[in-house]
C-alpha cells in the first residue's frame, strides 16, 4: 500500500523555545484508520496542524498524496478534511450555509445533492435551516464533520472527535467513520479514549513528548505487548503460597484471596493445566476463576510511563 501521508523528520519549535515535535517520522497508508494516542501536550494537535496547513513546520517535510504541504498547499489541502478539537463554529450561521461555505472554500463548485447526502448521513438534515447556536454539542460536533467532508476529501483528520460526547453518539460517530473507510477515505484520529482506538483503528501510533514511540498494527501490538492473567479466587485466604507452587511462578493477591498466573507474550504460556492441577493437588478450594487480557490502555500506560 502506498503511503498517502509521509512525514519525515518533522520538527516544530515555537518562538519561546518550546519544542513540540522532535523529528517525527510517520507513514500513513491509503485507506487505513490510524489512531494517534498520547497524553495532553504530546504533540498530536501540532502534528495535525502542520499537515493541514494551520501551523508551519520548523524542520522536516510532510508529503500528502505526493505533494509537499508547504510548497504545493493547494493540492494537499484539497485532499484533506479537518475536524478540529474545539467546537469552533460561527454561532449565527445556518447548518446548510456553513457546510456549503466549506465546500466553496476548497474550490469545489456547489453541489446541493452531495451536501444533502452528507447531512442525511450525519442525521443533520432536519436541522439544515437551524442556526448553529440552536444545536446541541453533539450536533455541533457533527456539523464540523459535515464541513470537513463537504469537499470530498480523501484523508480525514479527526482531532479528538468524541471528547465530551455521550456513549450513544460516540457509537454513532464510529459507525459514520466506518462508512467513510468503506468509501476509501483514510482516517487519522487522535484520542484519549483507548477504547476508541481499540474499537476503530487498523494501526495505532503512540506519541509522547513530541516523539512517536511506536506505530504498530493494532492486533500485532495487542499480541506483542498484551498480557493475560488467570485469577483463581480462593475460598479461604492464604498468607503465603505453598512451596510446591513455586516452580510455576504464581503470585498471591494482596489480600491473599486469589492466586494469580500471568502469561502471554511467549512467557508462561501453556501452563494453565499445570497450574490448575497443582492447585488441586494442594487441596485448595477455588470459588471462582477469571481471565483478563491487558487492554490497550495498560499497554499505553506502560509505554508512556516507561519514558517518563
Amino acid at each position: 500500500m502506498p503511503a498517502i501521508v509521509s512525514i519525515r523528520n518533522l520538527q516544530k519549535t515555537y518562538a519561546n523555545g518550546f519544542s513540540a515535535l522532535k523529528g517525527v517520522n510517520l507513514d500513513i497508508e491509503e485507506g487505513e484508520i490510524l489512531a494517534l494516542l498520547g497524553p495532553n501536550g504530546a504533540g498530536k494537535t501540532t502534528m495535525i496542524s502542520i499537515i493541514c496547513g494551520i501551523s508551519m513546520p520548523t524542520g522536516g517535510t510532510v508529503m500528502v498524496g505526493g505533494h509537499d504541504v508547504v510548497r504545493d498547499f493547494r493540492q494537499t489541502r484539497k485532499l484533506i478534511g479537518l475536524v478540529p478539537q474545539e467546537l469552533t463554529i460561527d454561532q449565527f450561521e445556518t447548518v446548510w450555509n456553513t457546510v456549503s461555505f466549506s465546500r466553496g472554500l476548497h474550490g469545489e463548485k456547489a453541489n446541493p445533492k452531495l451536501i444533502e447526502q452528507i447531512l442525511k448521513d450525519l442525521s443533520l438534515w432536519d436541522k439544515r435551516d437551524n442556526k448553529l447556536r440552536e444545536l446541541s454539542g453533539g450536533m455541533k460536533r457533527r456539523v464540523l464533520i459535515a464541513k470537513a467532508l463537504a469537499h470530498e476529501p480523501r484523508i480525514l483528520f479527526l482531532d479528538e472527535p468524541t471528547a465530551g460526547v455521550d456513549v450513544e453518539l460516540r457509537r454513532g460517530m464510529w459507525a459514520a467513520i466506518d462508512r467513510l473507510r468503506e468509501g476509501g477515505v483514510t482516517v487519522i484520529l487522535t484520542t484519549h479514549y483507548i477504547e476508541e482506538a481499540e474499537e476503530m483503528a487498523d494501526r495505532i501510533g503512540v506519541i509522547s513528548g513530541g516523539e512517536i514511540l511506536l506505530v504498530e498494527e493494532k492486533r500485532a501490538l495487542m499480541q506483542k505487548l498484551g498480557r493475560k492473567q488467570l485469577r483463581l479466587e480462593l475460598k479461604s485466604p492464604l498468607s503465603v503460597l505453598p512451596p510446591s507452587l513455586d516452580a510455576l511462578q504464581l503470585s498471591l493477591s494482596e489480600d491473599g484471596r486469589a492466586i494469580i498466573h500471568e502469561y502471554g507474550n511467549g512467557v508462561g504460556e501453556g501452563r494453565i493445566g499445570a497450574v490448575l492441577a497443582a492447585v488441586e493437588r494442594e487441596g485448595l478450594s477455588i470459588s471462582d476463576v477469571s481471565t483478563r487480557q491487558s487492554s490497550l490502555e495498560d499497554i499505553f500506560v506502560s509505554l508512556v510511563g516507561d519514558r517518563a
Binding site: Y14, S49, C52, G53, I54, S55, M56, F73, R74, Q75, T76, R77, K78, I80, L82, P84, E86, T88, I89, D90, Q91, F92, N97, S100, F101, S102, R103, G104, L105, H106, G107, E108, K109, K147
Partner: protein, 253 residues
Amino acid sequence: MNWEAIKAIYYFEMVRMKRTLLQSLIAPVITTSLYFIVFGTAIGSRIQEVNGVSYGAFITPGLIMLTLLGQCISNGAFGIYFPKFAGTIYEILSAPVSMKEVVIGYVGAAATKGVIIGLIILATASLFVDLSVQYPVMMLVFMVLTAITFSMAGFIIGIWADNFEQLNLVPMLVVPPLTFLGGSFYSIDMLPPFWQTVSHFNPVLYLVSGFRWSFYGIADVNPVISLVMIAVFLMICLSLLFWIFRTGYRLRK
C-alpha cells in the same frame, strides 16, 4: 486562482451584512440624516455659501466619506477578526486558498458594503439638499478606490487586533477626528495658514477634497493629487498585506 473560495468568502460576508442590516445600513442613514438636520439645515441656513455651493450641499461629500471610511474600516476589520475570535479561522488556514484570495473575498465584501452604504447616504442627502454631480464616473472611482483602500486598512487592523478594544480603536478614535479635521465641514481656506499646513498631513483631506471635486468641481487640493494620494494609501496597504502574508504575522503559528 481559487475563484470558488473567493465567491464563498464574499457570499458569506454579504450574508453576514444582511443579518446585521439594522446596524450596518439603517444606523448610518439615521446618523447622516441627523448631520443634515443639524449642520445642513439648522446651522447651514446661517452660513454663507462655500465657493458658490450651499453649505448643506458642500458638506454632503464629506459626510459620505466619513461614513464610508468608518464602515469600510469596521467591516474589513470585523470580517477577519471574528473568525480569529471564534476560532473558525482554522478552516481558512487549512483550505487550499492563498492569502490573496482571502483578502479579495473579505476586502471585496467590505468595500461593496461600504459603497452600497455610501450610495444610500447620497440618496438620503438628496432628500435634504439640492445635489449635482458633475463627474459621476470620477465620483464612483473615488468612492470605490477609497472603499477598497480602507477596507484593506480595516483588514490589517483585524489581523493585528487581539481584542475588541483594539479592534475598535481606529474606527472610533482615529477616523472621526481625521474626518472632522479633513475639511468635511469646511474648506481649509477658512483655516489660519498654520492649520492649513497641518491639514495637508491628514490623509482624509485628499479623499474628501477629491470626492467633493467630483460633485462640484471645487477642491482644496488638485484632484489629480487626491487620486495620487489614494493610490499611495492603496500601495501602503498592499505592501503591509504582502508583508503579513509573507511572514504569517499573527495568523499562522
